[in-house]
């Protein structure tokens, strides 16, 4: 059984690394379709990353070592996060190493390093992006924690693989609290991954950027790692969402190799649907002014806390 667990573990991390740019490409393609544009290639993110790895890096004169280290830290944090998210199987050896709260901490580490690196150079846009990122982050993080708390209360554990396993195996029941937190989670996902209501991933206007503004000074392999990390973050968030709200189909400890084999197409199907849904959400909503973003995230927090309260009161 242990061999299978390690196989699941390594397969999940490798799948996250390989599929993250593909998922990003799929979301972009769906968006293009919905907006009546000619869709870019599904493999475009891979080409972008490969191209950047072949270029020579240029680094600002006054950059400190932190600026050079940040892409590796951010990328490493995202890979570490991918290793504790049950995207295919729940019998992960790393389950005991870090629970869902540590996962939120890992995401926070990535955010802090990214913001510090953006401020390190001292350009106006980098600082602006970093400040906005922190503003979004400090509002989104409590909402995300509340979302996780509700699922933890229902399944009586904070380890994400165990949450997914218990939610998948228990008797089917209506959970209004989970429905509320699903809405909150979707809003947090949009905000944290610099998607449309809060930030526009395709913008070229520096004044409205949040995520892109922090990457303006990066080039070549550093930029490639940062972009790959961003794709991984989106993938990770999608998989957290699956684990919390649609855990069915992931292989549990008892289902053996056949379950693991079955969980691969299931994950693919979930990602297809999630990408389409994300693109649809982004197409129907307009970008908010930066100062309306707190209102958006306060709503997400409200949904999450409401879910928590409803669960505590009704036990559902």
């Amino acid at each position: 059984m242990s061999g299978l667990a390690w196989l699941t573990q390594s397969l999940e991390v490798l799948a996250a690394l390989a599929l993250a740019p593909l998922f990003l490409g799929w979301v972009n393609q769906c968006r293009a379709w919905l907006q009546n544009r000619k869709a870019p290639s599904l493999l475009l993110p891979y080409h972008g990353i490969r191209k950047l790895f072949h270029k020579d890096a240029v680094i600002a004169e006054h950059a400190s070592p932190l600026f050079r280290a940040a892409p590796y830290v951010v990328f490493g944090a995202m890979v570490a996060a991918a290793s504790i998210i049950p995207s295919m199987g729940t019998g992960l050896p790393f389950t005991t190493a870090a629970d869902a709260i540590a996962l939120v901490g890992l995401l926070a580490v990535a955010r802090v390093f990214m913001s510090l690196a953006a401020m390190d150079i001292g350009t106006a846009f980098g600082t602006l992006g970093a400040r906005r990122e922190m503003m979004v982050g400090f509002l989104a993080e409590p909402a995300l924690l509340m979302v996780i708390f509700v699922a933890s209360l229902i399944s009586a554990t904070t380890a994400l693989p165990l949450i997914a396993e218990r939610l998948a195996t228990q008797a089917a029941a209506l959970y209004p609290s989970l429905a509320f937190t699903a809405v909150a989670f979707t809003m947090v996902l949009l905000a944290e991954n610099a998607r449309i209501p809060v930030d526009n991933p395709a913008t070229h206007l520096e004044l409205t950027m949040i995520h892109e503004a922090m990457l303006l000074e990066y080039s070549a392999r550093h930029l490639a790692l940062m972009e790959w990390a961003a794709a991984l973050k989106l993938f990770n968030y999608a998989c957290i969402g699956f684990a919390l709200f649609v855990p069915w189909g992931t292989s549990t400890g008892a289902s053996g190799p056949a379950g693991l084999l079955l969980s691969v197409p299931v994950l693919g199907f979930k990602l297809l649907v999630a990408g389409l849904w994300l693109a649809l959400l982004e197409t129907v909503s307009a970008k908010l002014r930066v100062f309306r973003a707190p209102e958006f995230l306060a709503t997400a927090f409200m949904f999450a806390v409401l879910g928590l309260l409803v669960h505590l009161l009704l036990g559902a």
Binding site: Q170, A171, A173, P176, F180, A298, L309, V310, L313, L314
Partner: protein
């Protein structure tokens, strides 16, 4: 996990959605949407009453479900929409608190309401006693909706939402009030609505606006 039956789960979902609609009303600035939300709240209340009637087999709950449907989903929203058209008020002014602030106050109120309802819920012996907390929360949230608004229209919507909360509370605590009381309350609300409609025209005649702020100053001061 908990093995509650499906109809109780549906009832709980209805209760949760009622709470959500209350929050939506709290943060809504457009008066037309506010009235639509009130109608939605009424519809949820009607569904909850029907579910409870089916669960308990009490026939008078069917009557009150029909009453809810007729009065709170159809008649009152229609009256309010007509008033809005006649008075030409489509926007509420900026509420006294900003939206995130209102929501935080609302969340604290919900916590307070749940604590407040706990001893009552322990006394009740209905299957839906847990939902009493939600009913109290809906009432208090409607209070906040009234407090944070300046326009008479939104205050009336808050008042009607409060009545919805009271109705839901009575339903979940004791499976509904006696028929005579329910009919009386329904009639009261209808008459209050009509009288307030007349009031609106009078207020606007006097001050050229529906802002209740004007009522606070005495005539001599103006």
């Amino acid at each position: 996990m908990n093995a509650t039956s499906l109809d109780l789960q549906l009832l709980n979902t209805c209760a949760a959605l009622l709470l959500l609609v209350s929050f939506a009303m709290l943060s809504q600035r457009r008066i037309v949407t506010l009235v639509n939300l009130l109608a939605l709240q009424g519809a949820l209340l009607c569904i909850a009453t029907l579910l409870l009637a089916w669960r308990t087999g009490k026939s008078h709950l069917y009557v009150s479900a029909a009453l809810t449907l007729g009065l709170k989903v159809v008649l009152l929203p229609w009256l309010l929409h007509r008033l809005i058209r006649r008075l030409e008020v489509h926007w509420d002014t900026e509420p006294l608190l900003n939206v995130p602030g209102t929501m935080l106050v609302g969340l604290l109120t919900v916590v307070f309401a749940f604590g407040l309802a706990q001893p009552i819920a322990e006394l009740a012996n209905t299957a839906t006693r847990n939902a009493i907390g939600i009913a109290v929360a809906v009432i208090l949230l409607a209070f906040i909706t009234m407090i944070t608004r300046r326009k008479a229209m939104s205050q009336v919507v808050g008042f009607l939402s409060m009545e919805n909360g009271l109705f839901f509370g009575a339903m979940s605590a004791t499976y509904g009030m006696p028929m005579i009381v329910e009919l009386g309350v329904a009639l009261d609300v209808l008459v209050a609505m009509l009288v307030l409609g007349v009031f609106f025209f009078q207020i606007r005649e006097q001050f050229d606006s529906l802002d209740l702020h004007h009522l606070e100053s005495l005539k001599e001061d103006r």
